[in-house]
C-alpha cells in the first residue's frame, strides 16, 4: 500500500486522478501553480536569465516530496499535473510581459520538447498555449508532460494508463499538429517539395 498520506488534499486528488477522474487534475492545479510561480520568480531572480521549465517542475516536485505531500509512486502523476501548472505560469508571465512593456521584462523560457531546446518569446509562449488548446485532451497532456516536465514515454504511459507505444504514437501526431499550427501550413508545400 504505497501511497500518499491520505490527509492531504493533493493526495486525494492524485488518487482520484489515478482512478480516471480527470477533473481532479484541474482541482490540483491551483496548489501546484502557486508553488511553481514562487519558484519561477526565485529562479529568474537568482540566475537573471532563462526560466528552465523542466528543472522548475522537478524542483517543485522535490520540494513537495520532501514535505511529504507526494511519494515515489506518484511522481509521474504529480509531474503531469505540475506540467499543466507550469504551462499556466509560462503563459501568465508572457501575457504580463506583453501588456507591460511589450516584452521588455521578459526572461526567456526554454522548453525541451526534443533534443532541441525551444527558446520562447512571449508571443511564442502565447501562441503555443493557444495551439495546445486546439489539441485533443490526451495529446495535450502528453505534450505538456514532455515540454514542461520532461517526462518520458514510460512515465506518461503510467499517468494515462496506456502503453509506451500509444504514448509515442500520440506524441508524434500531437507534435505534428502543433508544429503545423505554430509554423504555419503555408510552408507545408515548400518543405514537402
Amino acid at each position: 500500500m504505497t501511497g500518499l498520506r491520505p490527509d492531504t488534499e493533493v493526495a486525494q486528488l492524485l488518487a482520484a486522478l489515478r482512478q480516471g477522474e480527470s477533473s481532479a487534475l484541474e482541482e490540483l492545479l491551483p496548489h501546484v501553480y502557486e508553488e511553481l510561480r514562487a519558484l519561477a520568480r526565485a529562479q529568474v531572480r537568482g540566475r537573471g536569465g532563462t526560466l528552465q521549465a523542466t528543472a522548475l517542475v522537478h524542483e517543485a516536485y522535490m520540494k513537495l516530496a520532501r514535505a511529504g505531500a507526494v511519494v515515489a509512486g506518484d511522481r509521474s502523476h504529480f509531474l503531469a499535473i505540475a506540467a499543466r501548472a507550469m504551462r499556466q505560469v509560462v503563459v501568465d508571465r508572457a501575457r504580463a510581459a506583453l501588456s507591460q512593456k511589450r516584452g521588455g521584462g521578459w526572461q526567456a523560457v526554454t522548453l525541451q520538447p526534443d533534443s532541441v531546446s525551444l527558446e520562447l518569446r512571449p508571443e511564442d509562449a502565447i501562441a503555443l498555449d493557444r495551439a495546445l488548446e486546439g489539441l485533443e485532451p490526451r495529446q495535450r497532456l502528453i505534450v505538456e508532460c514532455r515540454y514542461f516536465a520532461g517526462l518520458d514515454d514510460a512515465e506518461i504511459a503510467t499517468v494515462l494508463g496506456v502503453t509506451d507505444r500509444t504514448v509515442r504514437r500520440e506524441w508524434v501526431k500531437a507534435r505534428a499538429w502543433l508544429y503545423a499550427e505554430l509554423y504555419g501550413s503555408a510552408d507545408a508545400d515548400e518543405v514537402q517539395a
Binding site: 500500500m1 504505497t2 523542466t54 528543472a55 522537478h58 524542483e59 522535490m62 516530496a65 520532501r66 511519494v71 515515489a72 509512486g73 511522481r75 525541451q112 526534443d114 533534443s115 532541441v116 531546446s117 485533443e136 520532461g150 518520458d152 514515454d153 514510460a154 509506451d164 509515442r168 504514437r169 508524434v172 501526431k173 507534435r175 505534428a176 499538429w177 502543433l178 508544429y179 503545423a180 509554423y183 501550413s185 510552408d187 507545408a188 508545400d189 518543405v191 514537402q192
Partner: protein, 861 residues
C-alpha cells in the same frame, strides 16, 4: 476528437510508415478526393519533417573506443572498470585552480537525441542526494559524440564483501556495517531515488570504515534512455545484475523502493552465509531467474559453514526471509525497517520478522488436538498427513470453501489452488513438523502473487487467507491482506466484493479491538452491499450483525438493538425462522436485550433460540453451546444461579478438548467462575480461571488479548481474596498483554491499570494510585476523545482515590465530569449509580451529610 481529425491522423500515421516517395499516392488514395483532408495530412507530414523526424532516426551500435585523453575539463588517467553499463574512467579535474580525483562513467547507450535533456533532468535529481554515504554526482552530460557521461566522486575503498572478509569481521560487525548501508539506502528512498542495482561492488567501505554507495539512480537513468531510444542495452540483460535482482525486476514489473530492500537482502545473505540465496546457476540465466521468481530462498543457516549456522538460525534467518520475500508487498516496507529489525536483533530484542510467530504456538496446540478436530469434510482433509497442520488446513479450507461457494464459477479453480498449496505443504510438515500454519499462509500468499494476471481468483483467495490470519489472531496481517483484496475488488468494480471485503475489514478491526474504526468501515460496507445485493440479502444481515457487535463493545446498546433487530428480520425473511444464521441473529438480539436490562425479553428470545437450534443442526454443535451460554449468562444475572451453573457445567462436560470448542468451553468456565465468586468459593473460581489462562496461553501464545482478559479476571478474584501482591502480578500481566496486543488505548488496558491503582490505594499509596489513573484516563481520551467508553468509571475511581486522600474539591470536579460522561451514554445505569454512591461517600467525608443523602437517594433510582 472529431471523426475527421481521427481519419486525418490515421492516414498521417500510415503515411509515416511509407518511404517518402510513396506517400503522395497513398494520401490521394486514402483521402479519396477529399482535398481538405489530404491537405491536412500533408501539413502534418511537413510539420513532422520540421520536428526532425525523430522516429526515423536509427540507433548506431555502440563500439569499443580507445582510451581518450580528456573529457572536457577532466583528464583521463586510466580505466577503473568496464561492464554492461559502459566504461568507468579514473580521471582528475585539473583546471589550474584545484585538482580533484573523479570517476567518469561513460554509459553505453545508443545515441538518443533526447539524451542530453534526460541527463540534465536526472542529474538535477541525483545531485540533490547529499549524504556522506553516497558518492556525489559532480557533473554529467552528453559527450561530443552523443554518449551520456556522469562524473562522480572518486571513492577509495573496498567492496563490502571483500572488506568484510579482509578485516575478518564477525557476524555482529557485519550487521552493524550493513545497518549503515540500509540507512543510506533509506535516505535515498526518502529523496525518491531508487538504486535498482545494489550489489557488493556498488557498496564500498572506505579505509576509515565508512560505507559509500556508488551509482545511485544510474540504473534508472540507463533504463530510461534505453527504453526511449530503443537501444539494445536493456534488451540484452547485461546491464542488469541478475544475482542481486529482485523477482519483479526480472519480470520487468514496476519497481519500487522494496526492490532495493530485496537486493539489500541478497547482499546481507551473502555477507552472513558466504553465498547468495540462489547460487550455482552459472550459465543458466533462465533457470536462475525462474528460481528467484518462484522458489523460496533456502535458509541462510543451512548454507553457512557450521559454526556460523548456529548464529544465523532463528532470528537472522527470519530477517533474511522477510527481506527476500518474492512479493514486494510482503517484505520489509523500507530499508529503515530492515535496519531497525537488525538493531533489535543486536539489542537482543524480539525481531519483527518473527512476530508473526504467535502461529508457532498455535501450531503446537493444534498438533496436540488435531485428531479430535478432524470433523469437517474439506478438500484439505484427504491430503492432510494426519498431524500438525491438519486442523489449520481444515480451517483455511473452510474459509476458502465458503469463499468459493460465493464465487460460484471460480470455485473449482480456487479449490485447485488450495489442493496444490497443501500438496506442496504437507509432506514437509509431517516429516519435520517444522512447517507452521503461518508458513502455509505465507506459501499461499506467494502463490497468490503468481496469479497476478487473474485478479478474479486473487481477490477471494486473499480475503480467505485474511480470515484465516484473523482466526490466528494475526490481526495486522489479516487487515493487510483484506485490504489487498479490497483494492483488487475496487479495481474490478466488483461492488459485491467490495462490500463483503469492507465488512470483513470491519470484523478484523473489531476482533483487534479497534471498535470505532470497525464501525467506520462497516457503515461504509452497508450501503454498498445494500445497493449491490439488495437490502434484504443475507450478507447485508451479517454486516448488520457485525455492527451490532461493535456497538455492544462501544457500549451503545440502543444502536446495537436496532442493528440486531434489522439483521434478524432480514435473515428471517430470506432464510426462514430456523436457519442457522437466523438463530445466530436472534441470539445476538437476546444478548443486546440482556445488556439493555430487558431481562424478560432476553430470556424469551434466548430460550426460543435454544429450543429451535437442534432442528437446525446436530444437538452438540458449538452454536448450540453458544446459545446456552448466552442463556446461562442471563440466568446468572437474573439470580437463577443454579440453572446457570448447571448449564455452564453441562457445556464444559460436553465440549471436548478440540480447538473448535475452545471458545465456548472457556466462556463457560469464566461464567462458572463468576458464579463461584458470588457464592464465596474463591478457591474454586481461582482454579478455574488459572486453567483458562494456561490453556489460552498454550493456544494463542503470550500476547493475545484473550490472555489479558483471563489475567485480569484472575486478578479480580485474587483482589477480592485480599491477596494484593498476587493480584498485582495478574493485573500487570493483563496490562502488558493488552498493550502488546490491542494497544494502550484499549479499554481493557485502562481497566487493568485502574485495578492496579485500586491496589495501590488499598496500600495507602494515594499519589501513586492517582497518577496511574490519570495516565489511564489520558490514554482513553487520546484514543476516543472525551466521550470515550469507560471514561466515567475511571474518573469515578480517581475521585474515590481523591476522597481517600482528602482532596475533596478535586474529587467533586472529577465526579461532575464522570456524571457528564455517563449521561452521554444510553445505558450505564450501574456506572451512574456508582457515581452517586461515590458522591455520597465524598460528602460524608467532607462533613456535608445533606448532600450525601441526596446523592445516596439519587443512586437508588
Amino acid at each position: 476528437m472529431s471523426a475527421e481529425r481521427t481519419r486525418v491522423e490515421a492516414v498521417f500515421e500510415a503515411a509515416l510508415q511509407l518511404p517518402a516517395g510513396g506517400r503522395d499516392e497513398f494520401i490521394e488514395r486514402a483521402c479519396s478526393g477529399n482535398a481538405a483532408m489530404a491537405r491536412s495530412v500533408r501539413s502534418l507530414l511537413a510539420a513532422h519533417a520540421l520536428t526532425g523526424g525523430l522516429l526515423d532516426a536509427t540507433t548506431p551500435a555502440p563500439q569499443a573506443e580507445p582510451l581518450p585523453d580528456r573529457f572536457g575539463p577532466y583528464r583521463v588517467l586510466g580505466v577503473l572498470g568496464r561492464g554492461g553499463m559502459g566504461v568507468v574512467y579514473d580521471a582528475e579535474r585539473d583546471d589550474g585552480q584545484f585538482r580533484r580525483r573523479v570517476a567518469i562513467k561513460i554509459l553505453r547507450a545508443g545515441s538518443d537525441p533526447e539524451l542530453k535533456q534526460r541527463v540534465l533532468t536526472e542529474r538535477q535529481i541525483l545531485a540533490a542526494l547529499d549524504h556522506p554515504g553516497i558518492a556525489r554526482l559532480l557533473d554529467g552530460g552528453v559527450t561530443a559524440d552523443g554518449r551520456p557521461f556522469l562524473v562522480m566522486e572518486h571513492v577509495e575503498g573496498l567492496p563490502i564483501d571483500v572488506y568484510s572478509e579482509r578485516m575478518r569481521l564477525d557476524v555482529r560487525q557485519r550487521l552493524v556495517l550493513f545497518c549503515e548501508v540500509a540507512r543510506v539506502v533509506d535516505y535515498a528512498h526518502r529523496n525518491l531515488v531508487v538504486h535498482r542495482d545494489l550489489k557488493p561492488s556498488n557498496i564500498m567501505v572506505t579505509p576509515d570504515g565508512r560505507v559509500k554507495l556508488l551509482d545511485f539512480g544510474v540504473a534508472k537513468l540507463l533504463h530510461g534512455w534505453a527504453a526511449a531510444s530503443g537501444s539494445p542495452v536493456t534488451r540484452d540483460r547485461s546491464a542488469l545484475t541478475p544475482e542481486y535482482a529482485s523477482p519483479e525486476q526480472l519480470r520487468g514489473d514496476v519497481l519500487t523502493t522494496t526492490t532495493d530492500v530485496y537486493s539489500l537482502g541478497v547482499v546481507l545473505y551473502e555477507l552472513l552465509a558466504g553465498q547468495r540465496p540462489f547460487q550455482g546457476y552459472e550459465g543458466a540465466a533462465a533457470r536462475h531467474a525462474e528460481a528467484i521468481c518462484t522458489a523460496e530462498p533456502p535458509r541462510a543457516s543451512g548454507q553457512a559453514p557450521a559454526p556460523r549456522a548456529r548464529v544465523l538460525r532463528g532470528d537472522l534467518d527470519a530477517i533474511l526471509d522477510m527481506a527476500l520475500r518474492p512479493e514486494p508487498g510482503m517484505r520489509y516496507g523500507s530499508a529503515e525497517l530492515l535496519a531497525q529489525d537488525i538493531e533489535r536483533y543486536l539489542a537482543l530484542r524480539r525481531v519483527r520478522a518473527r512476530q508473526g510467530s504467535r502461529a508457532y504456538a498455535f501450531g503446537k496446540l493444534i498438533r496436540r488436538h488435531a485428531r479430535t478436530a478432524l470433523v469437517v469434510a474439506t478438500v484439505a482433509l484427504s491430503l492432510a498427513g494426519g498431524t500438525g497442520v491438519a486442523l489449520w488446513q481444515a480451517r483455511l479450507a473452510r474459509a476458502a470453501q465458503a469463499e468459493a461457494e460465493r464465487a460460484g464459477a471460480e470455485s473449482a479453480r480456487i479449490t485447485d489452488f488450495l489442493v496444490e498449496l497443501f500438496e506442496a505443504g504437507v509432506p514437509e510438515a509431517s516429516l519435520s513438523g517444522a512447517v507452521t500454519a503461518r508458513d502455509l499462509v505465507d506459501r499461499g500468499l506467494r502463490r497468490i502473487d503468481l496469479l497476478h494476471d487473474q485478479p478474479a481468483l486473487q481477490a477471494p483467495l486473499l480475503a480467505a487467507l485474511g480470515r484465516v490470519l484473523a482466526s490466528l489472531a494475526e490481526y495486522a496481517d489479516a487487515e493487510h491482506l483484506t485490504q489487498r483484496a479490497l483494492t483488487l475488488y475496487e479495481a474490478r468494480h466488483d461492488e459485491a466484493g467490495v462490500g463483503r471485503t469492507l465488512a470483513q475489514l470491519g470484523t478484523v478491526r473489531r476482533l483487534r479491538g479497534d471498535y470505532a474504526d470497525a464501525r467506520t468501515v462497516l457503515l461504509r460496507a452497508l450501503p454498498i452491499q445494500q445497493v449491490a445485493l439488495g437490502a434484504d440479502h443475507p450478507e447485508v444481515a451479517s454486516t448488520l450483525g457485525q455492527l451490532a457487535s461493535v456497538a455492544i463493545y462501544l457500549g451503545e446498546f440502543d444502536d446495537a438493538g436496532v442493528h440486531a433487530a434489522e439483521g434478524l428480520a432480514i435473515h428471517q425473511a430470506a432464510l426462514g425462522d430456523s436457519h442457522r444464521l437466523t438463530l445466530n441473529s436472534m441470539r445476538l438480539l437476546g444478548q443486546v436485550q440482556r445488556l439493555r436490562g430487558q431481562h424478560e425479553e432476553a430470556e424469551a428470545t434466548l430460550r426460543n433460540v435454544v429450543a429451535r437450534r437442534p432442528a437446525a443442526i446436530g444437538s452438540t454443535s458449538p452454536e448450540l453451546h453458544e446459545d446456552r451460554l448466552q442463556l446461562a449468562q442471563l440466568l446468572a444475572l437474573r439470580g437463577a444461579s443454579d440453572e446457570a451453573a448447571d448449564i455452564f457445567r453441562d457445556v464444559i462436560a460436553r465440549t471436548g478438548p478440540a480447538t473448535e470448542d475452545f471458545a465456548v468451553r472457556t466462556a463457560a468456565r469464566n461464567g462458572l467462575a463468576t458464579l463461584l465468586v458470588r457464592s464465596g468459593d474463591l478457591a474454586a473460581a481461582e482454579q478455574l480461571l488459572r486453567l483458562v489462562h494456561n490453556e489460552r496461553q498454550a493456544l494463542y501464545g503470550p500476547e493475545h488479548p484473550a490472555l489479558a482478559r483471563s489475567a485480569t479476571a484472575l486478578g479480580n478474584v485474587l483482589l477480592r481474596g485480599g491477596r494484593l501482591a498476587e493480584a498485582e502480578t495478574a493485573f500487570r500481566e493483563g496490562a502488558r498483554v493488552y498493550r502488546a496486543s490491542v494497544g494502550e488505548r484499549h479499554l481493557g488496558y485502562a481497566n487493568a491499570m485502574a485495578q492496579l491503582a485500586a491496589i495501590e490505594a488499598q496500600r495507602g499509596r494515594h499519589a501513586t494510585a492517582d497518577s496511574i489513573l490519570a495516565h489511564a484516563i489520558a490514554l482513553r481520551v487520546a484514543g476516543e476523545g472525551s466521550t470515550a467508553h469507560g471514561l466515567a468509571d475511571l474518573l469515578r475511581r480517581r475521585a474515590e482515590v481523591a476522597v481517600a486522600a482528602g482532596r475533596f474539591d478535586f474529587a467533586e470536579s472529577l465526579l461532575a465530569e464522570a456524571l457528564a460522561n455517563a449521561a452521554g451514554r444510553s445505558y450505564s445505569p450501574g456506572v451512574t449509580q456508582e457515581i452517586h454512591d461515590t458522591y455520597a461517600a465524598l460528602y460524608r467525608a467532607w462533613g456535608r451529610p445533606g448532600d450525601a443523602d441526596r446523592h445516596a437517594a439519587l443512586g437508588r433510582h
